[in-house]
Amino acid sequence: MMTMNERLDINEQAIAWVSKLLGGTGSDADKHAYADWKEKDKRHAAASHELDRLLVDFDAAGKQALEDEMVRELEAAAAEKTRRRFFAGVSSIAAAFIAAVMITITMWSPVPEAQLYQTAIGERSTVTLEDGSKVQLNTGTRISVVMQRDERHITIDGGEAFFDVTRDESRPFVVTAGKSEVRVLGTKFSVRLGASSNVISVLSGLVSVAQHQDGDGESREVARLTAGQQVVHAAAIDRAVVDDFDESSVFAWRTGKAFYSETPLAEVVTDLNRYFDDPLEIADVELASLPVSGTFNLNNQDVVIDALESAFSIMAVKRVDGVILLYARQED
């Protein structure tokens, strides 16, 4: 008879072996030693086999759980789409007719590739999409565009872009930026994907903004914006705040300018640094809260620095590594 202790011992030994070898770096010697251990005793082999089964089952269960979760995500996305379709009021008869004709043609046709567009630091550029929509990219921006039959999808990987969307009711225009998703039929609006917050500002028309939830991967509508409204989603508080905004300030970049009104210098510096390779840095902490108002020309950093130096008590010094330090000028 085997005692309980012996049995535990064997199982623990098997676990110790397997734990050693699962790490991906076990030596051949280890593997041989484990094989020898298994051969030495039938009970060893049985314990080892049992443990193998357990791992197989867990691997399978893990995969199954992940698959279930993914299917739930897909079902949620499909349900959401059906709902939107319903409200969009597409002529279903016409759609069905077109679908019937298209289905055989399109079934095996390749899904459109994503088009990538990007701008370097300090660069601005406008692209016209195949549907006539125009996208203006601000400095250091990267977007990918996938034009599908039933949806126009743009993903902003970083930066800021202004969209002038050609109206097409059967083909929603969707912009994803981080966790924010913007859905429109035809409007003018901008989306900025920031490190700590996303900002969506509407110049004309109606925009639906949804937010992806942590964990479940679903998105829910957080705001409907009309012209002159903006939603700021700050990651830190995970909340979306809707407010009116100043057009001349938010869209100033489109004409190569930055406009600030009583904005703390720290924020101004962060914003300006998007446009230039050599970053500004506040060297004297008391400058951080200095309120800055005015328009800056973004095409030339020297002009920006001159403007700062002449309008405020600021002195700029360029360090060898390129960083431009801002000091409070000593008044005498």
């Binding site: 676990i15 070898l21 991906g24 076990g26 399978a60 893990g62 299917v71 897909l74 996305a77």
Partner: protein, 208 residues
């Protein structure tokens, strides 16, 4: 026919049924194409890969439709997409040659070749219970043991990777793993019915 499955559940589709099957499937594909591509693009973080996988999904479900009655085409579509997405993610993340053979390959593709071998509804339900029980067991592990187990088993990470992520030594990771295996074994091996769970699908496959 497989010996594990009585023949009565294994219907051979006639032409009419097959056509009806394919039509239902085409409709489901049409209705869900946007959702599928969007979701795959997000999951795989690549529109090109999403397009490839989507094509693969369509091909597989079509093959399936030729041999098996499909009751819920959308469910099949989503299940296949999830399955292929996982395989793709695994393929990308595979950094570790398994040292201990785990017959993982048997789990490869759900829909590839399953004429009349599908589990019965009872089997599916029982299998679901097993999965839920196992996931619960993992959730109840101490934090570090759980982290080591999940990263190693589900994310295919080596102890070196995990050690770096957790900021501990590799031998400590090995200890966490040992702890995890002991606890999981104790939890699931006691009750025979909860432990064995040869997953129905794979037990039946490939031996006709």
């Amino acid at each position: 026919m497989t010996d594990a499955r009585p023949t009565d559940t294994c219907t051979v589709l006639d032409d009419v049924a097959r056509k009806r099957n394919v039509r239902a499937l085409e409709k489901a594909i049409k209705a869900n194409q946007g959702v599928l591509i969007g979701w795959l693009t997000k999951k795989l973080n690549s529109a090109a890969d999403a397009a490839d996988i989507a094509q693969d999904v369509y091909i597989r479900v079509y093959k399936f439709a030729a041999v098996e009655q499909i009751d819920n085409p959308q469910a099949l579509l989503f299940k296949t997409a999830a399955n292929l997405a996982i395989n793709e993610l695994k393929r990308r993340g595979r950094v570790l040659r398994r040292q201990v053979r785990t017959e993982d390959e048997n789990m490869a593709d759900t829909v590839e070749a399953v004429p009349c071998g599908g589990p019965t509804p009872e089997e599916v339900a029982g299998h679901r219970q097993d999965v839920i029980a196992m996931m619960a067991a993992i959730r109840q592990l101490p934090e570090k043991a759980r982290a080591a187990f999940v990263k190693n088993r589900f994310e295919d990470k080596t102890y070196a990777d995990i050690a770096r992520e957790l900021g501990v030594s590799e031998s400590t990771v090995e200890k966490y793993m040992m702890d995890a295996l002991k606890r999981l074994r104790a939890r699931l091996m006691r009750k025979p019915q909860a432990s064995v769970l040869p997953l129905p699908r794979k037990a039946r496959r490939g031996k006709s």
